[in-house]
């Protein structure tokens, strides 16, 4: 068996166990058993529970930043950028449900993660989001009387709640529901919920 295989098996097992039990209640023994490797091998490769967890979380943030940077740099229409961001979260929910569950349950609000470093991660994401909102304002797509960080909170908050509800309810996400969610968020965010 190749070296990479077992490392990946451990990561996959960790994703499952951290999602199911949360960081605090996840046992390294569970992860090892789930991965089908011995107790010590998890430590051989990852050193500690915290390192293993951080590695997983790191993955998430890097993916998120990559996507955000790509959107920022992209020449797509402003409206499409927002749609891409929403879709990124929904796609991740479909393709990597464990990862996004961990993000929702263990990272985005966890007091355990409220360290300086944890805060910095968020600020970096919000900052990228704000830049896109600012661009939207400058190009005349968005109202200028609402500060970009407020726009960010409202836009991101909508996405996060959609995701959280699905995580909580362990709901499947069909293509159809996905599109409805995108449309709902975009319509309300851009045009408002008020009846014409």
């Amino acid at each position: 068996m190749a070296k990479g295989d077992k490392q990946e098996m451990i990561i996959d097992a960790a994703l499952e166990v951290f999602r199911e039990r949360g960081y605090a209640n996840a046992r390294m023994a569970d992860i090892a058993r789930r991965a089908g490797v011995s107790y010590g091998l998890v430590y051989h490769y990852f050193g500690s529970k915290e390192v293993l967890f951080d590695l997983i979380v790191e993955t998430w943030w890097n993916d998120l930043y990559s996507m955000m940077n790509a959107e920022k740099a992209s020449s797509d229409a402003f409206r499409d950028k927002l749609i891409h961001i929403i879709r990124f979260f929904l796609d991740t929910y479909v393709q990597r449900p464990n990862l996004i569950s961990i993000f929702v349950s263990e990272v985005c609000r966890s007091s355990v993660y409220h360290t300086r470093e944890g805060l910095a991660r968020f600020l970096k994401f919000f900052s990228l989001c704000e830049e896109i909102m600012l661009e939207g304002q400058q190009k005349g797509y968005l109202k200028k009387d609402i500060p970009p960080h407020h726009l960010t909170y409202i836009f991101y908050g909508a996405i996060e709640t959609f995701i959280s509800v699905m995580v909580l309810g362990k709901e499947p996400l069909t293509k159809k529901r996905q599109e409805r969610a995108v449309n709902a968020i975009m319509e309300v965010f851009m045009d408002g919920a008020k009846a014409a």
Copy 2:
């Protein structure tokens, strides 16, 4: 010292400790020390860590349900109901910061709290929110092509993110900032962020 005093001191201490360290890392000994009582007494009154935590969380949910029911039953203008809901969260942040921090960090996303009961709490709140949104649609205030639960997620998501950012950044909330937040959420939710 009256009986009630010590019980309250323990609850207050628990609020602080749960907020500072999170449920998993909070020690009963910490709570007892903070309250200035022996840890036997904490058990005497509250039975277990879980019961103590649930009691606190119960407080939050009951306050939230009361407010929501009051708004539902109220004859206030629809727009004002939404404003009242936003203000409830922001006021709680100002007046009971520990309580809302615990809600944000330990309840609303915590996998620990993802029990059937935890889910039910949320669904009840969302259900109340949906009823208000539905009323808004029926009375002609809100668009009818967006399902009420979607409206709920977007509206509540915006509020929760505002609160979460403040909790994470331990930011103070002045009256002025409070009003700006209310206005930003209301304007985007009702009229959208799109430039005219």
Copy 3:
């Protein structure tokens, strides 16, 4: 059972276990079992293996320093001071064999104990010893051409080896043997081993 009782029982058990197995191989479980208390109680009182060990070692050093200071301050004849020092070690061997075994096996040479603090302990003792030797030189009892620290090493080395051999061989020490040891050390140290 009084509080002090169990603490003392744990200390006594620790003395035995540390002597029998050495610091590194002593298990906290052994100490608890030997003391007839639960595992957790050892931690309740002493916090960690290291703290428990340090407490024991501290006892030894404090006794040693007290004795040395008393001798330094005493108005006894110089020769008697040396005898008292030798007797202190031999008496401790008889009365607190575990303590002196731990000193010999785990402290006086242990690399584990070669921290800055460990070194300081020794230097303090040697320093007290040197002061006595210096006094002996100044009062005309000892040759002045040998530096006091060399006198210290030779005098103390003789004592320590006597003790170590007994510890290693687990030899009993009768009054008679004790006196012979005192006499041998004193005679060689003061008058030399050379035949007249």
Copy 4:
């Protein structure tokens, strides 16, 4: 690279690591890393940590016994034999500091080494020393009223303490200091510290 090279590199690395961390805290992985080989190779050559340690200690004892036997058999003056013994220890300190540090810290007092075999090693050395002392008495160089084993303890104790102090303080040993140490030990041991 020749076979012998790697074996030697491992032994040298082991000397360093055992000295720095002590037997209990030395890790086979440390030794392998220090030697620049995989830790499988350490096992390939030496079988176990204990075997590797014993091999090193064996080296020391054999050198010591060889020296002692040579002195016993030698036709040198009695006084010179004692000087040679002292010099052997001091020279080893200069030439093989790791070896003598391990002896001082991990062997001569270590409870880990208080096995039957460990005791036997010592007794053999003391026995050789006693024979020399006895010879000194029989030839009229040493007083006959002090048992040879007592003379041994005092003589050896002086040497060991000099060495130990240097090991503890990681002191360098110049030729000059070496001679002063030899003279101090010889003068006190033979003629006593008492002022004329």
